[in-house]
């Protein structure tokens, strides 16, 4: 592969304003195939807004989003999902009245194009059912597969969030604080699942848990007040005195 390979996902001067407030300010960002990257930054730095711009939930005020060399700035969220951008939410957004299996089934059915079918029963779609069960297995949710989301503790629900995103077989996976609310004992299940993703998938994580960021990411972008403040390898970020001052310092600097 050449050094100048087309990035999987790229933003150019991406800007998002809400009235006078600039949430994301001219961000140039690249995610290569197979990348494991993180965005960190203090609260209100625009991290979730940035994810929403990538996923197509928000339209940028200026700038563009490119996926594998094509400009997808104008595409709606659902179209971007079809092109391989999946995301999880900071706060669980699940089909709360449905079972874990149904939750994952819906995502897989949507991806493989089974969802519009009206005649054949959902349960006869064995390939969809098997794939959904496989994902549930991967995330150690087998014992909960039949339980409704409302009956699950928050940490387990978090795993369903990720199972749904994986059900979309993404090429770009955006994880918005996947560890939020996950008990320490279950954190390794999520990290394991991320570790076992196909190598060519680009994964971008937003996370406050610094141990997770430094374990997972090979490249870190620091966002402050909507703009890129610093970017580099975890070692470089950790050693950067400015970053320590604005961000890591507050958290007592993991090391």
């Amino acid at each position: 592969m050449m050094v100048t390979a087309t990035p999987l996902l790229e933003t150019r001067g991406l800007t998002c304003r809400f009235g006078a407030f600039t949430a994301v300010d001219g961000v140039d960002f690249r995610l290569m195939a197979g990348a494991r990257q993180a965005i960190i930054g203090p609260n209100g730095a625009g991290k979730t807004t940035f994810i929403n711009l990538l996923a197509g939930v928000l339209r940028p005020t200026a700038g563009q989003v490119w996926l594998e060399g094509s400009n997808i700035t104008a595409l709606a969220q659902a179209q971007r999902v079809k092109r391989g951008i999946a995301r999880t939410f900071q706060i669980n957004r699940l089909f709360r009245g449905l079972s874990v299996l149904e939750n994952v089934y819906i995502a897989v059915a949507e991806r493989v194009g089974a969802a519009p079918a009206m005649l054949r029963p959902a349960g006869r779609r064995r390939e969809v059912l098997d794939e959904a069960l496989g994902l549930i297995e991967t995330l150690r949710l087998v014992d909960d597969a039949e339980r409704r989301i409302v009956e699950l503790p928050y940490g387990r629900q978090r795993l369903v969030e990720i199972a749904i995103a994986l059900g979309l077989a993404p090429r770009v996976l955006l994880l918005d604080e996947p560890m939020a609310g996950v008990p320490g004992a279950e954190a390794h299940i999520i990290l394991d699942a991320i570790d076992r993703l196909p190598r060519d998938i680009g994964v971008l994580i937003i996370e406050h848990a610094m141990d997770v960021v430094f374990r997972f990411a090979r490249y870190i972008t620091v966002l402050v007040r909507g703009a890129v403040f610093a970017a580099g390898t975890p070692a470089a970020i950790r050693a950067n005195p400015d970053v320590r001052a604005v961000y890591l310092g507050q958290e007592g600097a993991h090391g």
Binding site: A55, V57, Q77, A78, Q79, V81, K82, A86, R87, F89, R93, L94, F95, R96, G97, L98, S99, V100, L101, E102, Y105, I106, A107, A109, E110, R111, A114, A115, P116, A117, M118, L119, R120, P121, A122, G123, R124, R125, R126, V128, L129, D130, L133, G134, I136, E137, T138, V142, A145, E146, I164, G167, L168, D192, R196
Partner: protein
């Protein structure tokens, strides 16, 4: 760290998968309502008018359940489609254009579907209270249009003595002797029920429940939410149109009541009483509502709605989802107790 070997999960082994894989299979108790309907025919031949009305109401409630119970579309305008279906067969027959009943149903379904598609494309861009108000307005507009267009629709008086041909040229719609109407309505309900049942257990129906449970997440899994809602709304409109058409054929008249707010609200109350998103809520609710209003009206002609109102309040306060919301947890508990060693 140990290397994980993911065990191959067989969907026919895991209990959760079995539940999903087998939920569309007909269960033994599902014959009960149909046997009851047949028994009704022989046991209460003098009440077939009431029975026909009940069967039509169930079909109408079933069509609403598809949009409200499964897709989560809140509407106070579903009588629009009932009325369009009723007026379609009524006017076609009255003006000598088409009076064959079964093809009449298909024409009524198509007409209601067109109205459903047209209004759905506009209205379903909104949700919640806005949608509720817009459906309410649409219904009011159509009712007023039917009222004003009395040269065609008969206005306030409606169209009576609508000439409907006998079914297959044999079974006449006799306004005094209602066997044809009852059997006809029962067969149409059965077909309509099979259609709705098939849809809700298919992946399409599953995706409708996804939209109901979390629309934002449905967008995030790449679902064309609006297209799916409009599709569901159109199908539901067609079924409601068929219900209205049977009503017009069975009664041999059409009037503004088919488009009325009363009808739109009643069908909503029926689902609230019976339970929504459960197929059989429409049956339970319609039976409960119609039997109660029938007997309450006899016993307390001036204040019968008070009894219904009280029942509705009790159910709304105590049960999460109508009568089914009361029965279902009890059944589950019973099953758990029975399956426990």
């Amino acid at each position: 760290m140990t290397t994980q070997t993911v065990a191959a999960v067989r969907s026919d082994v895991h209990p959760a998968a079995r539940t999903l894989a087998e939920r569309h299979r007909p269960r033994a108790w599902e014959v009960v309502p149909w046997l009851a309907a047949i028994a009704f025919f022989f046991a209460l031949p003098t009440h077939l008018g009431f029975g026909t009305e009940l069967l039509i109401t169930i079909l109408f409630a079933l069509s609403l359940d598809l949009v409200l119970g499964y897709a989560g579309i809140v509407t106070l305008g579903h009588a629009v489609f009932f009325g369009v279906g009723a007026y379609t067969v009524g006017m076609l027959a009255k003006y000598g254009i088409w009076s064959e009943p079964i093809t009449g149903l298909l024409i009524a379904a198509a007409a209601a579907a067109v109205v459903g598609l047209g209004s759905g494309l506009v209205l379903l861009r909104t949700t919640g209270l806005t949608l509720l108000m817009l459906t309410l307005c649409t219904r009011a507009l159509l009712e007023e249009a039917a009222n004003l267009g009395h040269d065609w629709t008969g206005g306030f008086d409606g169209l009576d003595s609508v000439p409907i041909q006998p079914i297959f040229g044999i079974f006449e719609f006799n306004p005094l002797y209602l066997t044809t109407q009852y059997v006809y309505a029962l067969v149409v309900l059965f077909v309509g029920f099979l259609i709705v049942r098939t849809i809700v257990y298919a992946p399409f129906g599953q995706s409708l429940t996804g939209i109901r449970e979390n629309t934002l997440r449905m967008h995030a899994v790449g679902a064309p939410v609006n297209a799916r809602l409009v599709t569901c709304y159109t199908i539901s409109a067609a079924i409601a149109g068929v219900a209205g058409a049977v009503w017009a054929q069975a009664n041999l008249y059409v009037n503004l009541s088919t488009l009325g707010l009363d009808r739109a609200a009643t069908v909503l109350i029926i689902l609230a009483l019976g339970g929504y998103g459960r197929l059989y809520g429409a049956f339970i609710g319609a039976i409960l509502y119609m039997v109660l209003s029938h007997y309450l009206a006899k016993a307390y002609p001036t204040a019968w709605q008070l009894g219904l109102g009280l029942l509705l309040m009790v159910i709304a306060l105590c049960a999460r989802n109508g009568m089914i919301g009361i029965v279902e947890p009890l059944l589950q508990r019973w099953r758990r107790v029975r399956s426990a060693p």
